[in-house]
Each structure stands twice: as structure tokens, then as C-alpha cells.
Symmetry: C3
Subunit: 363 residues, 3 copies
């Protein structure tokens, strides 16, 4: 169920907005006289927010949902406010030029408030190697294992069952949820959020044919590079980032990876690039800054993608892309019988073209 | 290796069928006079079952495999039995109108028997928060962590290394295999089976562009919704179900998800819908009841699929589907050279159509 | 960051080559008079190796990178050496007919040296069931759980948080990284490398429609087969190999699976077959020897692939393949607008062919 603060812990609307103001976003309450002391227990959508929650309008298409909205207050732009019929609403209004960003910041506030209530410190069951360095103010959860030479920065928190391998390092104010695994020699910057089940620094997939053994046998190429991740990265549940073969796999600042993504060895991801779930990036591919890869996009190895390249979901990228823009390669879905008929012709396409050319010649 | 009971723990065929009868399925042993006291140690296919195992015939195509079958007994329909040549077989026969369902129930019986032998109770290394509520008869495995306000229902069993986050709840008679993670505010109904490495309630992938920072920078939208799952769900290994942004991600009753599936935030899955492995469902998509998504199908976000929609494996769904039926979008596989020739023409398809139209005009 | 030995632990070049010679590969140092006592702390690429590292030239296209290479020594073939301008290089040269394989072996040496420094033995927090058999020289990491009847071979090492289920067995000299899960009745051969988050023996996805319940309801087919894996397998992070329904899922000798792969129940994988990341193989499919499946390839269930079949990345295989060769089925990527135009025609392909046939008739 959605997270709601207990009433006695909830801020008033004005306290909440004062917090938001410290983050730097302008916002101005109007029409909130009925709710001066009302405590705000959480956030909700226009359709679902209750009388102790704040909502927001960022998508103009949802303007109709303002009717009947039961929220304590709604964040909206001046333009949206002026379009309201006076007296038509029971909620207060908070004017903000960027309602969606405001909502993002308020949601952060509520989530951080929840986390403040969690236990801190080093749990007695955590196993910390003698040469590991844990900064003051770091929290290490139950059954964590921090190996020799590892370093954990100030304010960084590890959930239960995390493993930080030999000589790996986490910066400041990182948040590792339950059972995140860092192999050895993995470096993570500040303010990273790493979700449950993610694995950093597993061996890249490297084998050489070994003609000295049985036909087809593989010799392992031990992966002795590392992983280096910048600041402000977020990595989703069960995502894996492999270690480099000889050098590092590199994840830039502000990179956001969703769940179940696979980043191969030696890959480099530019700053602020975001990937939705189930994406795979094969080894040694270099991705520019501010790219987006939609869900289940697949990149071959040894490619170079420039900055500001956007790949549609489910598309396979098999060659370099230097021009910014959106790229797609998805078979259009159809009713199965129709698909069968078209797919059958697809397998004869080259022949079809030859037949067309023959007709054109004889025209 | 397949699970076989020790001979001294194995039931006789009649004891086993009596158990099955209590489940409610009709079944009638015939031709079993040779095996009245034979102990049944497990189940096997027609081709592999040994003389202490029971097999079944549900697919008429496999009728030939009855010849040479070494099983103690074979479950089959009356029709299949009548087609047998008298005296042609050494196995006993159990008549049942639904042999496949009968097999499913017997397999459950054997698996539950195995589980009855496992240790129960709360392992001394489990860490249970003071405000967590563990019902009588629940089992908590080694190194589990159950956080504040969590609730574990009667008869529910947690394998080693499970984490149940703050205020999360598991119903009765659930089975969590080793290292399942529930974040905070995740609710699971009765009789759920959750496999190893599955993660429930990780943050949905939500970011707003933050123009106050470096170009391309993202502000996190903290995910403050929850996850609500119904009764009788089964979730495969390393599958992830993200928490909602503001409201809940909802998994209906009887939903079956295979391994390595990704369910985005705010998704709603209708009752009895089943998804094979490697499926991805992007955020806010709503899926009806009794749908099936075959392996590696991918659904874009914010879609609505009605009831009884069936998506073929490897297909990408990018728009709403309201009509029941089967839908497909897969590039047909071909020998690589042939694929190259056809794919080359595919990229000129619009031009090809124009040329065809020109010919038609000049006809 | 890449792994480098501390200088006092690093071997001289001649010591290192002597080690390599014991592995059986011929190699001959020349031009190394300047570096007789230089200690080699690690390996690097031609572009990045520093003066305490060894590099190699295996791809002739990289010959230009020899200029300016700062490595202590470079492994190359005689042919490459003869193409060098005398006196043009500061690095030593090691002649070897198979530089890539030599590099693989040296990388193994460095990685094994690193691992020799890790703690061994049974950690006091490991929970070992009374009937489990741990061979001498096995290492069990912190918080591991080894259940009743499990067997761990000599020299096998388990990282933190591994679980070995009832009656499962690991051969000799296996390496399990942190939190690998084996369910019950899973058998693994010698020298396996299993990466973090991998799961072996979770239930296959098997359900029978249950007409005795609500419309669409499923009855679970309990999965009572096992998993059997051969020698020299390597399995990537978060990969899952399900247990068989009645018989075993089988992984052959020398099979290499990358990260996030899903192997369904009853699948059989032939010796030395390799699969790149994100591949899915549905239930009961049989794959031959020495096959390769590139990233995100998807195989339907109940197929048979012969030996030496190679599937391109992102391709869906939906029917049997008996002829060795390379097979592909990928929608070619294009700029989004161009894709839209071609995809629109694709959905009318059958109709297009009819129109072409009409023209041909009227010719």
C-alpha cells in the first residue's frame, strides 16, 4: 500500500512547502485558507489523493480530473489555476511553474522522512574486515559483508545482506537496498542508489577458443579490469554491470539504469544517459551522453553511439550511430493470422523486388 | 537428479490414490493386482519412469511410448485404456478423465511430502523486529530479516536470507524460497510461491528532467506507492515487481509469472494472467484477466490490454488491444545470408510500394 | 579499477613466463634485456598498459597501437615481431604463436594469485547441516547455508550468502561468488564458476488448467525433476536454470552462459555451447554442441537445434534447426520516421504481393 505518514508525524502544508522552498523551487500557496493546519500525510494522483494528501497537475490532458479531486491541495501552474472556475473546488492550490518537478521533490521529501526512521549504525551481525574503512555516519545493515580494503563513505547506508568486495569503494550518501553485491575493485561515486539484487563487477563474458583441448572448448579470459561509476547514478533491481576485461567498465555521472539491465565488460556510458528495463549492452560498446534506451533495446558489442541518441523499445542496434535522433527497429504487432501472411511474404522480399524490377524493365 | 522418496517413506499406490481422491479428482485403479503393496517413490515420464514410479498419458501422440514403459502404473483415460492390447503391458493402469491434472496433483503431493521434512520454526539467526507480527506456525529461515511492522501469516515459510521490509505483509501458507526481497509496504495474499532472487517493491523508474542542473540531469521521483498481490500468485526466480509511483502496482489473484520478468510501476495484472520468462511490462500498463504473454514479449507503458489476449513470444506490444485473440510480431528467422537479402529490401519497402503503384498507374 | 598486484608480490617477467610454460603454451622472450628484473604487476591493453604491465597483440588491426605502447613487454607472433622496425620500441617482446590464448592464461594467473590471498576455511557463521558433507580444502563463506545431504567437493569455494539446498552437490574446485542459490537436488560438476545472483533449480513454469476452479485458474505442476550440470561450466550473474518437471534440466561440459540468461525446465544444452547475455531458452528445448547464441536470442520450447548452430543476437527461434550455420531474424534499425514508413508497408505485404501478381498476369 502507498506510504502515508502517521498523522502525528505529518507536516502541515506550510511546513511542507517551506521544506520545498529550501530545495530552491518557487511555489506559492493560494486558496489554502481552509487547510492552514491540516497535516499532509502523503501524495496522491488527482484521482486518488485523499483529504490528507497533496496532488499535482502537470499533464494538461488531466485537467478534467480536477473536478471531484479530494486532495488537500493541488500543485499547478498559474495558467491552470486561471482556468479553474472560482469556487469550484474544495482543495487548496499551490502555484508552481514546474509542478512535475515540485512533485518529484515532495515525493523525495516524504521518502527521506520514511528513511530517517530506519535504524542506523553498524549492525552487530555485519562482518567488516580489519582493513576496511567505514566513514563516520555510515550505516551497515544486518548480515552485510565488507571485505579487506573496502571503503564506505560518510552517510552511506547498506541494507541487509550487501557484500562489498575487496578494495571496492562507495562514496558518500549512497543507498544500497537489500542484497546488493559489489565484487572486488568496484568504485561507486556519491549519492548512488543501488537496488536489490544488482551485481557490480561480475566477470565479463570472455573466452578464447582453446585448440589444445576438446573441439569447441573455451579457455577463460580472467577479467582483471574493474568497474567505475560516477556520482548520482541509480541502478535498478537485478541489473548487472560486469567488470572490464583489462580496463574498467565505466558508468558516467547521473546515469539511470532500470531493472534487469545487463551492461557488458568495457562498456562506457556517458553522463545522464538513461535506460529502461531489460536493456542489454554487449561488451566494449560506448554510449554517449543524454541518450535514452527504451525497454528491451539491445546493443551489439564494439559499437559507438554519439550523444543524444534515442533508441525505441525492443530495437536491436547493430551498427554505430553518430547522428542524434530517434531510431527504431520493431516488427509491428498484428493479429496472428495477419502476421503469418505478412511474415511469409517477408521471407521472399528479395525475390519480390526482382519480380518488380522485371516488370519495370518490360514496361 | 529427480526427487525420489526413500523406499521406507514411499506410499503404496492405493495410499497415494486415496490421497488424490481427497483432493477431489476421480480416479480408478484397474489392472493393478500385481502392484498392490508396491511402494511408489515418485513420478516419471512414460519413457523414463522406473518400476517404483507412476507415469501418465495425457498427450495422445505419446501413445506409442506406452510400449516398453517400465512404470509401476500409468494414469490414462478410459479411451486410451481401451486402445491397449490386453496383456500387452506390465504396468498397472489408473483410469482418470483428466490425466494431466491428476499428474499435477500427484506431483504436488510428492513435493509437499518433501517439504514436510524440512525444518520449521523461527531460526535463531533470523532477525525479527519487535513490532513485526509472526503468526503461529510460520517458519522463518536462517539469516532472514523481518523489519518493523511486517506481518507474516500462519503457515507461511521463508527460506534463508529473505528480507521482509517495513510494514510489508505476507498472507497464510506462502512459500518464499531463499533470498526473496520485499521492500517496505508490499502486501502479498495467501498461498503465494515466490522464487529465489525475486524482488518486490523496488523503486519504479521515474525521473523528471531537472533544468536547474547540468543539461540532461534527472531529478528522482521518489516512488511512494506500494505493491499489492492477490492470492495464489507464483513468481519466478529473479523476477522484479516495482512499487507504484503514487499508487500501487497490482498483481491479481492466481497470476503466474515465470523467471526474469520485469513488472514496471503502476502496472495492473488481471486474475489468472500468466507470463513466460523474460517478459517486460513497462509502467502503468493494465493487463486483463486470463491473458498469456509468451517468453520475452515486451509491453510498452500506459497501454490497456483486455481480457483473454494472448501475445506470442518475442513480440513487442506498443498499442492497446481490446479484442481477445492471439497477436504476434516476430521477424522470421532465416539463414543469415537470406536474412541479409530480405532485410535490405525491408528498408526500402515504402519505396518499393511507390514503384508498384507507379506500375499500376501505367498499366 | 583494474586489479594490480602490489609491487612486492609481483613476479618478474621471467618468473611469470615460467609459470605460463608450466601450463603448456610455448613462449619465448626476446628483446627483454632491459627488463630482466622488472616486476610485472598486471596486464593491460596496448593503449593503456603501463611500464609494470604486460600487453599483447592478437588482432592485426591493432598493430599501429604498438607505437607508443608503454608496456614492459608485449606478447606477439613472430610475424608481428618481424614487422617491427628495429629499435622502434621500448618494450620487451614475448614471441608466442597464440598471443590471445597466452593472454587468457596470464590473466588467469593474475586472477588466481588474487584469490589465493582470500580467506579460506569454513566461516564460523556458515550453517552446515549435520548430514552435509564438506570435503577437505573446501571454503565456505560467511552466512552460507548448506542443507541436509548436500555435498561440497575438495577445493570448492563459496562466497558469502550462498545456499546449497538439500541433497545438492558441487564437484571439486568450483568457485561460487556471493549469493548463489542452489535449490534441492541440483548437481554441479568440477571447476564450475557460478556468479552472483544465479539461481539453479527453481521450479520450471508448469501449470495445468484447472476446470474445477474459477475460469482461467491454473493448477501448479510441482517440479520434481532436478538440474545436472557438467564440468567446466561458467554461469553469469543473475542467470537462472530451472529444475526439470519430471526429469533433469541438463547443462553439458564446458558450457558458458553469460548474465541474465533463462534456461527453462527440461532443457538440454550440449557441450561447449556458449550463450551471451539475456538469452532465453523455453522449456524442453534441446541444443546441440558448440552452438553459440548471441545476446537476447530467444528460443521457443520443445525445439531441437543440432550441433554448431549459431544464432544472431535478438533473433527469435521458433522451429527446429538441423543444419549447422548462422541464423538471423532481426528487424533492421532505422531512423524512426523511415522505420514508420517501412513498417506501415510491412503490414500490407501479403496484399502487396497480390498486387504484384496481378500486374504479372496482365503483363
Amino acid at each position: 500500500m502507498p506510504v502515508l505518514l502517521a498523522p502525528e508525524q505529518a507536516p502541515t502544508l506550510h511546513e511542507l512547502l517551506a521544506e520545498a522552498n529550501t530545495i530552491g523551487l518557487d511555489c506559492k500557496p493560494v486558496d489554502t485558507s481552509k487547510q492552514p493546519e491540516l497535516r499532509i500525510r502523503g501524495l496522491g494522483s488527482l484521482a486518488s489523493a485523499g483529504p490528507e494528501e497533496v496532488s499535482f497537475l502537470s499533464n494538461p490532458k488531466l485537467h478534467d480530473q480536477l473536478q471531484g479531486c479530494r486532495a488537500a491541495a493541488v500543485i499547478m501552474t498559474s495558467a491552470a489555476y486561471q482556468a479553474l472556475e472560482p469556487g469550484s473546488h474544495g482543495y487548496g492550490v499551490v502555484l508552481c511553474s514546474e509542478p512535475y518537478l515540485m512533485y518529484a521533490l515532495l515525493a523525495q521529501w516524504f521518502d527521506q522522512h520514511r528513511m530517517k526512521q530506519l535504524a542506523t549504525g553498524i549492525h552487530p551481525t555485519a562482518i567488516i574486515a580489519p582493513t576496511a574503512a567505514i566513514a563516520e555516519g555510515a550505516s551497515i545493515g544486518p548480515y552485510c559483508v565488507v571485505e579487506e580494503g573496502a571503503r564506505i563513505g560518510r552517510g552511506t547506508r547498506l541494507g541487509p545482506h550487501c557484500v562489498v568486495g575487496t578494495n571496492s569503494a562507495l562514496g558518500q550518501d549512497c543507498l544500497l537496498h537489500a542484497r546488493v553485491t559489489l565484487y572486488h575493485n568496484v568504485t561507486v561515486g556519491d549519492r548512488a542508489i543501488l537496488h536489490s539484487g544488482s551485481v557490480f563487477g561480475a566477470d565479463g563474458f570472455g573466452f578464447a577458443p582453446d585448440p589444445h583441448k576438446e573441439a569447441g572448448a573455451w579457455a577463460k579470459i580472467a577479467q582483471i579490469g574493474g568497474v567505475v561509476m560516477g556520482d548520482d547514478v541509480e541502478i535498478g533491481a537485478n541489473t548487472t554491470v560486469d567488470r572490464g576485461a583489462l580496463e574498467n567498465t565505466v558508468v558516467g555521472n547521473g546515469v539511470k539504469l532500470d531493472n534487469q539491465i545487463m551492461i557488458g565488460h568495457n562498456v562506457q556510458i556517458g553522463d545522464h544517459t538513461a535506460m529502461a528495463a531489460c536493456v542489454g549492452v554487449a561488451g566494449s560498446t560506448i554510449i554517449g551522453r543524454r541518450c535514452t534506451l527504451a525497454g528491451a533495446a539491445m546493443l551489439s558489442g564494439h559499437l559507438v553511439l554519439g550523444d543524444d541518441v534515442h533508441i525505441s523499445g525492443g530495437s536491436a542496434v547493430t551498427s554505430n550511430i553518430s547522428t542524434p535522433g530517434r531510431y527504431t527497429g520493431v516488427f509491428p504487432l498484428a493479429e496472428h493470422g495477419q502476421w503469418q501472411r505478412n511474415a511469409a511474404v517477408l521471407t521472399q522480399l528479395a525475390q519480390l523486388r526482382r519480380r518488380l524490377m522485371a516488370l519495370e524493365k518490360n514496361k
